[in-house]
Symmetry: C2
Subunit: 673 residues, 2 copies
């Protein structure tokens, strides 16, 4: 690579890009860790993007109509931090750059959306950013259809690496973007042919150009160090009616001794090589030093969108106040005021009518009430619409010919769905929910974890939540998935017992601002157990006394979801034997854990024997409530699963695995002794 | 679709295929559940494959050199069961067909490999079968290179549906197969354009032909109901030097009122429609009735490979006895006799030398000893070879030009790696292990669960297993992943404290026949804690007393992995204060749970206060050992994580999150009161 030729051909561009490269080298040298090669390789692309195309105003990083810039190759975080600092982002100061990867810095090893403005999403786990981006672009389409082009009209740009494209989820994203003709999605592929283990072709020889084209993308191939080519490609991309992938041929760790090698991917900290690289750039300044003319040029880029943003604010002020309020409310993840009342009246109605619905059906009935009120919801399913009961008639189908549609047929793509839903939530203005079978939590896991880490309220509607799904067998029967989601920090796992609890769970999920929710819903029909209407949302307490012991309390049955009805049946039998039995419904362990000691003690007092009932493994947090919280080993038991399930009718499976009222009664009697 | 024309054009073929369709209809009618459309649509393809191409002997379904037939679209299980019954598989009798999806039947809702011979893998979660198949084909290549074409020379056939191709993992599989030129892998795509939610194109318009070609596949497009075209395509596929995808244009639920509709995907149980379909087939026989001439024709197909198989046995008998023994031993997942001795001498050596290695480095040192002995291992990493320490010099790299290579650069494809490893284990003769960062358990989850369900000893080498990885931050720091794997039935989760325990864990993992193992290994260096050599494998007991209290035992510290050293440090401090403290190392909770009560009581007696220490969430099974097993709430504490981690140097993170000897001492003192 002849750097001198590049420098002299376009000195102003070169210097701006060199600032990114120099800051990257300095920050990683100071941290003694990080990934140098990607920012150094993609500095030219990023410079042209920010200078000539990206619509943003560094002084107002949360401007809703900004273009979104997503660094899918999150290990190259110094690229993003450099850009934010150089353009004048208020959070990412030079001090932050100097503290790259240090305790308390906003400049974490991988970009974390909740640390600083300008970080649109949390990346690092590869393939996530490009998949989030599909959701960003969909959210833009939905909002543009609703609010008009004067208020919503922006692009989503992604920088993705070879790793992003090798991860399977990228195929799901590519297929979705192509199908939905997300023409405002522009992916810049850092085509450097290097991964950690060597050149890409030791593991993959896929023709990425052909692959993207096969899914309906426009593809443009350029030299990623040629500013004019980058500019022209971006211009062409913006006017396409298809999503665009720009294949940017680059040199990883450009100008460094480790250029074009796997070593260049990692932390380049050798002082002499660092100096040599800076020399090659013609960069004669000290560590972390950006000369004022270069910084001024960058700051001008950061201010470039200011006038646009002011004009946008004027246009926004012209739409109706109702619309403005709705727009702002949705961005703030504030539930509409009407929601609580609607939930309450549904609760009252079902407490009276006492339907015997599967909770997936209950969920549909709640959504019928909710979706017309919470107009920012976008629903969908990974090709199980009729099974997940996620669609309501008012939504319309999101398609190129109907951008107002609020329901997405995600196809058989649980992971892509989850990641794109995260993208919608991150974009703002949309509250996404999507369904699949609970067992396929496994497929969606990487994105479900990130929802929790990113503090966004994505809702995962997980139906067919136990052996109760019956004949489809153990491949489809979750036993450990409640445990998986409960073990994940910042995640609400709701397992409602009937329609009332399902409505309460949805109310919490749709009011959450920083916490994703997992709704664990049955395939099989269940009786209504909340037959007495309470206006209060009891699910918000996590657990509560559903039925009090008659006479002396000798046993407490703690159950969730479909097993609450079994607990009630067992209670009736135990009471008939003179054993006073309390039933505690525990639809959300996380919320119960958040209650104060006094409340928890009222629900789970010492003394009585305790039996937990859940058609899942005990590892799902049960020991805390059985052995802890004033319980003890000799007086506690669990009725649930200890193995994978089996293929047979649901009732027979409950018998086979001993999850019955009879087994509960026997366990209580054994514990009472 | 003009069925009459098809019938009359090729009546013998038609009748055989009709038998599959009729059995499918009858079984699903009897079960009142299942998926009719796929077997009915793909019956012609399957009939030609079994009649003219698939090398198998129904009377010897485990013949090692049989062609493998993998039903990736596992919901179409009646296709497989019909084929097995018709060809004379000893397990799948007519009685089993009649008991489809019933308790105890071998004919589960989705095919389960461990229930019956002829079921090569467990499918249903889409995309798994096609990804397993990559491993099957790799295993065949490795074994053929080693044993020669006279002993190993077979194809892997896959039937995959639209769902399989939409799942992201299929892209990982396609990329791998193309890169490795797995020419003996042949995928038959059931191109019926129907999924549960509607036609495929509501969610995807990918040109699958172009997509496969982009990754180096041969693609052949045929009418999936034309026997001659099917035959010709299979013939062409077998002689290619690339993997082949045959796009079979089919009609889902052929001949039924629900043909070509989403309804046709599911259970077609209407008696009149069922009769009409059979009439259209010209099938006049009763339910479950296959006339003897048709059954005879199918049984002849089942016996077709018998002579081949006998000849193979003769050829096999001609290779050296040593090679025969090795071949059989590897198929039986029997560890070589030398393994134990080698592990013991390594243990002795490291107990003496006491290296301060990260356990990922320990693992590499174990592999250096193990790989030359356990010659059936095939190792690899998802592009983190130097970080996972999974490669040893003797292995060679598996590539088209080196089929004897035992190390696979999987690329950035954790899910595809895990699924292909499962395929290798299922194929037989190979014991696969593969590495990634532990946090990316999330990506590999669907295949990790299936390894456990399928009862195969795949080994997952998960390094960088806590906040101890430092600056890469919370996106890369597992906190809930020990809990995830521990909650999964039939999975060993090893978290070794030093090189000795790492060697012991590997010995167990490499001796396992029916249980996958997860090795949780550190990035950071650790002291050797097992400084006194014991020949016995203490890790096999799950937990043991590493250091006894001096004087009266007042505290028991239970720790795993990197936190055992913290426990030892805390013990020293506590003993200095006169508080007798036992340290229990607990490298494998599952194995400890399997010990008898007497042993568990010896390790965890009542009385002393207990503190668990693990840089992960408490939900990972801890309450059982802290509150249960004679423990109690008032006398138990936990030192670990309650949130996601952060980006900073590892030592600072341990301080920040309070996982230190000092915090442990303080907790013990607080509990003693």
């Amino acid at each position: 690579m002849d750097l001198t030729a590049l420098r002299t051909a376009n000195p102003e561009h070169w210097t701006k890009a060199a600032a990114i490269r120099a800051l990257t080298l300095d920050a990683i040298h100071a941290a003694n860790s990080g990934h140098s090669g990607m920012p150094m390789g993609m500095a030219d692309v990023a410079t042209v993007l920010f200078e000539k195309h990206l619509k943003f105003d560094a002084s107002a990083p949360n401007w809703p109509d900004r273009d979104r810039f997503i660094l899918s190759a999150g290990h190259g975080s110094m690229l993003l931090y450099s850009l934010l600092y150089l353009t004048g982002n208020p959070d990412i100061t030079l001090e932050q750059i100097k503290n790259f990867r240090q305790m308390g810095a906003l400049t974490a090893g991988h970009p974390e959306n909740f640390l600083a403005s300008g970080i649109e999403t949390t990346t690092g786990p590869l393939g996530q950013g490009i998949s989030n981006a599909v959701g960003f672009a969909m959210a833009e389409e939905v909002q543009r259809a609703r609010y008009g082009k004067k208020v919503v009209d922006h692009y989503t740009y992604v920088i993705a690496g070879d790793g992003c494209l090798m991860e399977g989820v990228s195929q799901e994203a590519i297929g979705l973007a192509g199908r939905h003709e997300l023409s405002k999605l522009i992916v810049l592929w850092d085509n450097n042919n290097i991964t950690i283990d060597g050149t890409v072709d030791i593991a993959d020889r896929t023709d990425q150009v052909a692959r993207f084209k096969a899914s309906g993308w426009q593809v443009i191939e350029i030299d990623g160090h040629n500013a004019a080519e980058i500019d022209a490609a971006l211009t062409k991309a913006k006017s396409s009616n298809k999503p665009t992938m720009i294949a940017c041929k680059t040199h990883i760790a450009l100008g460094h001794a480790a250029q074009d090698t796997s070593k260049g991917h990692g932390a380049l900290t050798d002082p002499e090589q660092l100096k040599a690289a800076k020399d090659a750039y013609g960069w004669t300044h000290g560590a972390f030093e950006v000369p004022s003319d270069v910084l001024d040029a960058w700051r001008a880029i950061g201010a470039r969108g200011s006038a646009d943003r002011v004009e946008w604010e004027e246009r926004f002020a012209q739409i109706s106040e109702r619309k403005q309020g709705e727009f702002r409310r949705a961005y703030a993840f504030e539930a509409p005021k009407k929601l609580s009342g609607a939930i309450r009246s549904l609760k009252k109605q079902v407490s009276e009518e006492q339907p015997k619905w599967a909770t997936r059906k209950s969920s549909e009935e709640v959504l019928k009430v909710v979706n017309p009120i919470v107009t920012e919801t976008v629903g969908g399913s990974a090709d199980l619409t009729g099974s997940n009961n996620t669609k309501t008639d008012d939504m319309g189908i999101f398609l190129p010919e109907n951008r107002k549609g609020r329901y997405i047929h995600w196809g058989i793509r649980e992971h892509g769905m989850a990641a794109a839903m995260n993208g919608m939530a991150l974009h703002g203005g949309i509250r996404p929910y999507g369904g699949t079978f609970m067992c396929f939590t496994d497929y969606a896991r990487p994105a479900m974890r990130l929802a929790a880490l990113m503090k966004i309220p994505t809702v995962f509607v997980m139906t067919h939540d136990s052996i109760g799904l019956g004949e489809d067998g153990p491949t489809h029967q979750p036993v450990e998935h409640l445990a998986i989601s409960r073990a994940t920090p910042n995640t609400y796992v709701f397992r409602p017992a009937d329609t009332v609890e399902t409505a309460e769970a949805w109310e919490i999920a749709l009011s959450a601002k920083e916490t994703p929710s997992v709704l664990s819903l049955t395939r099989q029909g269940l009786p209504t157990v909340r037959t007495q209407h309470k206006t209060k949302n009891l699910t918000a307490q996590g657990a509560y006394v559903l039925a009090e012991a008659e006479g002396k309390r000798q046993a407490i049955l703690i159950a969730t979801g479909s097993e609450v009805a079994i607990a009630m049946e067992a209670k009736a039998k135990l009471e008939a034997m003179g054993i006073g039995t309390r039933v505690v419904s525990m639809p959300c362990m996380e919320l119960f854990a958040q209650q104060d000691e006094a409340y928890r003690k009222r629900v789970l007092p010492a003394g009585a024997v305790r039996v937990g009932i859940e058609a899942a493994v005990r590892d799902g947090g049960w020991d805390r409530w059985l052995l802890g919280e004033r319980g003890r080993e000799a007086k506690a038991g669990f009725i649930g699963m200890t193995s994978f399930g089996a293929s047979a009718p649901a009732d027979e499976l409950y018998e086979k695995f001993g999850i019955t009222a009879e087994a509960t009664v026997a366990k209580v009697k054994e514990l009472i002794g």
